[in-house]
């Protein structure tokens, strides 16, 4: 298996928000979900995950609530705020534009 690709700078926020768009989730779950969905390609740096979550909460894109986890432990669940959803749409559009532009350049004949 190839070495897991490091995340491009700034994309961690985007991935977190996209993951939380499905359902409220705790930090561990977010990391797992990103790994699974990306078929083990994207390895979230755990040291960077929590500061990112706190920053996003601080910015008001997500909010936190304590709840019960699957294995009955107390866990901090994050969910997307309406503002966060709007921000996610913007960022997603932005990302698509960027990546298709990069594709165009890379696939030059």
């Amino acid at each position: 298996m190839a070495k897991p690709t490091d995340l491009v700078q700034g994309t961690l926020d985007l991935l977190i928000l996209r993951t939380l768009a499905l359902q409220p989730m705790h930090g561990w779950g977010i990391a797992q979900r990103i790994r699974q969905v990306s078929k083990e390609v994207l390895q979230v740096n755990q040291g960077a995950l929590y500061p990112a979550l706190h920053r996003l909460e601080q910015q008001g894109w997500i909010r936190a609530k304590w709840g019960e986890s699957e294995n009955n432990r107390r866990a901090k669940y994050y969910s997307l705020t309406p503002d966060g959803a709007k921000y996610l749409r913007q960022e997603q559009a932005q990302w698509k534009r960027l990546s298709s532009a990069i594709d165009l350049v890379l696939e030059m004949p």
Binding site: H26, Q46, Y50, P51, H54, Q59, S69
Partner: protein
């Protein structure tokens, strides 16, 4: 706008710190648990899984710190913590804290005090007056020299000036005010009718003047009194409006009371009352001046329209003056009108104090720099002791930025204490200038510093700069901290080693340099003052007394005054102990100015562009003898030189040299104000208006031929001032019981008053110079004792190897003196450049006077030797055994 999410979060971080911390731990713990379980499921054993999980998270504490950072919790939290830590540090070193705070208090206080003086005297000198930033002073000029203006000229300027918003007259005057038993000379202003509207001050009771109240000779005997006068002399009388009060001998109706804190528009005195210009004759005498364009007596202010510069206004006003000159050549030839910034106002104390205050700003800055260097040095010494602490914190993961912030916070605490103390100092020193001027014999009564928003702002800015300066100095040092080295070895320096001591040494050099410059400045000013105080003004000062009698106010006209003057001088000359006595319109070096006239000299051809002019004094017989001014040749005036005799004059030596080219002028003619007068004598040169002036052509004319009602009377006597005063009062009362005597003083005091501003400059610079010297000595002492205590080991070693006490003493002293000498040498170079700034304040004293430099050098050397001696002596007491064992 997501503030409704953010605000509770921020508040939570701040108010529920502990809860937030717990939750953070719990969150990470949950993550770790899951990770451990996953690793365990992959087949690791429990312990191994735990380590692996910790590794993949990358250190719980670090992640926590980053999360805190992300929440911005740290910003405020750290600050609070830093402040707490800083306070603890300061409390633990009370000696250091007190010393540093004291230094900063002096430094910031000196600056705040000087700023408050500049603000209260030069920039915004008139409390309650609106828009002072657009206010300028206005005076006339005669051939580019400052003079008074006339009322008709001012009215013309007011009418045609499009760039001026308002123009108002404000002349100072004095009057005897008797209420009940107490009579007192009070100071007031003669103002134009729009005065109160123009300055934007409205009486709290009654009204200001109305338009038209400045018209008509003596037509409007109305007065607005100051709040203080109302309180003290009229006992807060609520019915005061409409009551009458005698000023000198004229009854005025009180129409208003000015608000509290309004002191009029004269730097140096607080005004007690205001009367309209129509009443000027009551105070000044000499006939109605309102219609006379040739009668120049007005001092005025102009408020410019917004956005108009002084230059633009000057151009327009000069054009108006030129038009007046063309229109009224008889009265206005050679006359102009000039505007001045408030800080150069020529007719009050602002202009005189300007050079002194300019110097003070520079000097205060020097003191502040020295203080910063000093406190920086103290902090450095301490940071040396705290190196271990800093290194440990760095090793534990504190970022350098974080350490920096803490050092700056400590600096802020210190400078905030200093600033608070400094404001107190400034507040206490508000009236210091008045006190100094009064000690010097000046006639200044009211000269407050003003602590307003701008002064506070500037002081706060200084406080911030100081914070950065003193906080960053030790930070600069920690920059070089090498973790391993510092942790391993204990601090140990070597005497005279260049290494890390250079920074502190250069701070000491800076202090020595700056205080040396101040010492040179102080010495120069002191020498200058000594010279000016001992300089001969060309007339005798000690045994001559001077006073005058207010005749105009008592209703005397010219014929009555002549009779009175004649009778009085006879009686005075007959008094026991009186040698001679004489009248003169103007006292030399006094407040009044001389008459000046264009002259025509028989046989002298002026250059095409030259208009010969000279000042003159109107004097009675025996004047030169009374004043002790030598008569070179010819004769003095006699009683025969009266109105009916041919007009005569006595000229001074400079005049002879310039207009008669040294030929004997006696018997020659001279034209004064259009009349030919004959020269009958030559008087020696003396000082007329100022001790600093160069010899100028000057002449005397007989008082009887150029009459003035209220001349000064000079009395040469062997008796004391009190004896003569009592006798004179008796004689005056015998002649007319309604008359009083004005203040009597010796000419010596008169001369001293004219140099009181110099005294202020000298006192302040000397004070600050002494302060600087003290601070620099403390700095030197601190550095030397620190060096000694840090090189105990080396000193012990040297002594163990046979160095004697004298060797050690020499070693330490030479190191200290090396610093001083370096500082002094730089100081000499800089002082040579900088003392030129003293220029105007120095009297017959070169700004590069070697004597002053030598004196400053001597003082500096003595002080620094003293400062080094104690540490050096302590070094000789090092016990070699203990020093070596201590390692």
């Amino acid at each position: 706008m997501r503030w409704y999410y953010k605000l509770p979060l921020r508040l939570r971080s701040l108010l529920h710190r502990e809860k937030a911390e717990l939750e953070l731990s719990e969150e990470l713990q949950f993550h770790l648990q899951n990770q451990i379980e996953e690793y365990a499921a992959q087949g690791m054993d429990r312990q191994e899984a735990r380590y692996a999980a910790l590794r993949s998270l990358g250190g719980v504490e670090q992640v926590k710190e980053e999360c805190r950072e992300a929440r911005k919790m740290n910003l405020i939290g750290n600050f609070v913590r830093d402040v707490r830590l800083g306070l603890r540090m300061l409390r633990r070193n009370p000696g250091f804290t007190v010393l540093a705070t004291l230094c900063l208090t002096l430094g910031i206080g000196a600056n705040a005090a000087v700023f408050s003086w500049v603000e209260g005297i030069l920039i915004r000198p008139y409390p309650l007056v609106s828009h002072q930033e657009r206010l300028v002073a206005l005076s006339g000029t005669v051939r580019d020299e400052r003079a008074e203006t006339s009322w008709p000229d001012l009215l013309d300027v007011q009418r045609s000036c499009t760039l001026c918003e308002t123009l108002f007259v404000s002349n100072i005057t004095g009057a005897t005010l008797s209420i009940g038993e107490r009579a007192e000379v009070t100071t007031g202003s003669i103002v134009s009718a729009d005065y109160f509207d123009a300055v934007g001050v409205h009486p709290i009771m009654g009204r200001g003047f109305e338009r038209g109240e400045d018209n008509g000779r003596n037509a409007h005997p109305v007065v607005v009194i100051s709040y203080r006068l109302w309180q003290t002399r009229f006992k807060n009388d609520p019915e005061i409006i409409g009551k009458t009060q005698r000023f000198d001998n004229v009854v005025f109706t009180i129409i208003g009371v000015a608000p509290e804190g309004f002191y009029g528009t004269f730097v140096g005195r607080a005004m007690e009352y205001w009367v309209p210009v129509s009443m000027q004759e009551v105070f000044y005498g000499g006939g109605d001046k309102l219609e006379d364009r040739g009668a120049r007596w007005c001092e005025a202010y102009v408020r410019l329209k917004p956005g108009v510069t002084r230059n633009q206004a000057q151009q327009e006003i000069s054009a108006i003056a030129a038009r007046l000159e063309a229109e009224y050549p008889a009265t206005n030839r050679g006359r102009g009108i000039r505007v001045w910034p408030l800080w150069e106002t020529p007719f009050n104390h602002a202009g005189h104090l300007l050079p002194t205050l300019e110097i003070m700003v520079v000097v205060a800055m020097f003191v502040l720099l020295i203080v910063c260097a000093n406190v920086g040095n103290l902090l450095l010494v301490r940071s040396f002791a705290r190196r271990h602490e800093m290194t440990v914190r760095l090793a534990m993961g504190a970022s350098r930025g974080r350490l920096l912030r803490q050092l700056v916070t400590e600096g802020l605490l210190l400078s905030a204490c200093g600033a608070a103390g400094g404001m107190l100092v400034a507040y206490w020193c508000r009236h210091a200038l008045v006190l100094l001027l009064q000690v010097g014999g000046g006639d200044v009564m009211y000269l407050p510093g003003q602590i307003d928003g701008r002064v506070l702002g500037l002081s706060a800015a200084i406080c911030l700069v100081v914070t950065l300066a003193v906080g960053l100095v030790p930070a600069f040092q920690t920059r070089h901290l090498a973790l391993a080295d510092t942790l391993k070895t204990e601090a140990s320096a070597v005497m005279g080693a260049r290494g890390r001591a250079w920074f502190r040494s250069s701070l000491v050099v800076l202090q020595v340099t700056l205080s040396f410059i101040l010492l040179v400045g102080a010495t120069l000013l002191m020498q200058s003052l000594r010279k000016i105080r001992t300089a001969s003004p060309g007339f005798s000062t000690t045994r001559v007394l001077d006073t005058w009698i207010p005749l105009v106010a008592a209703g005397y006209d010219a014929p009555r005054a002549k009779t009175f003057q004649d009778e009085l001088i006879q009686r005075v000359r007959a008094l026991p102990g009186v040698e001679t006595a004489a009248y003169a319109r103007v006292v030399p070096l006094g407040y009044e100015s001389y008459s000046s006239t264009p002259i025509v000299v028989d046989g002298y051809e002026p250059q095409p562009n030259e208009q010969p002019t000279a000042k003159y004094n109107e004097v009675s017989p025996e004047y030169l003898g009374t004043m002790g001014i030598p008569l070179i040749s010819g004769r003095e005036f006699t009683r025969a030189d009266d109105e009916n005799a041919p007009r005569v004059a006595i000229v001074n030596q400079t005049m002879v040299a310039r207009y008669w080219r040294g030929q004997n002028p006696i018997g020659q003619r001279l034209q004064v104000k259009g009349n030919w007068v004959q020269v009958v004598g030559i008087a020696a040169d003396s000082k007329y208006s100022s001790l600093r002036e160069n010899a100028e052509p000057f002449f005397y004319v007989p008082l009887r031929q150029f009459f003035a009602i209220e001349p000064n009377i000079h009395i040469r006597t062997t008796q004391s001032l009190q004896t003569v005063q009592t006798a004179l009062i008796r004689e005056v009362r015998t002649l007319d019981p309604n008359l009083a005597l004005s203040e009597m003083m010796t000419l010596e005091e008169q001369v001293n008053r004219s140099t009181s501003h110099e005294l202020v400059a000298v006192t302040l610079v000397a004070l600050f110079g002494g302060l600087a010297l003290l601070l620099a000595s403390i700095g030197l002492y601190g550095v030397m004792s620190c060096t000694v205590s840090q090189s105990t080991r080396e000193l012990g070693l040297r002594m163990a190897l046979g160095a004697g006490a004298s060797n050690v003493l020499r070693l330490v002293l030479s190191r200290g003196l090396l610093l001083t000498t370096t500082g002094t040498v730089i100081g000499v170079a800089l002082a040579l450049l900088l003392t030129r700034l003293l220029g105007d304040l120095l009297y017959q004293e070169s700004p590069r006077d070697p004597l002053a430099f030598a004196a400053a050098f001597a003082v500096m050397t003595v002080a620094s030797t003293a400062a080094c001696f104690l540490p050096a002596w302590r070094a000789t007491r090092t016990d070699p055994m203990r020093a070596l064992r201590a390692e």
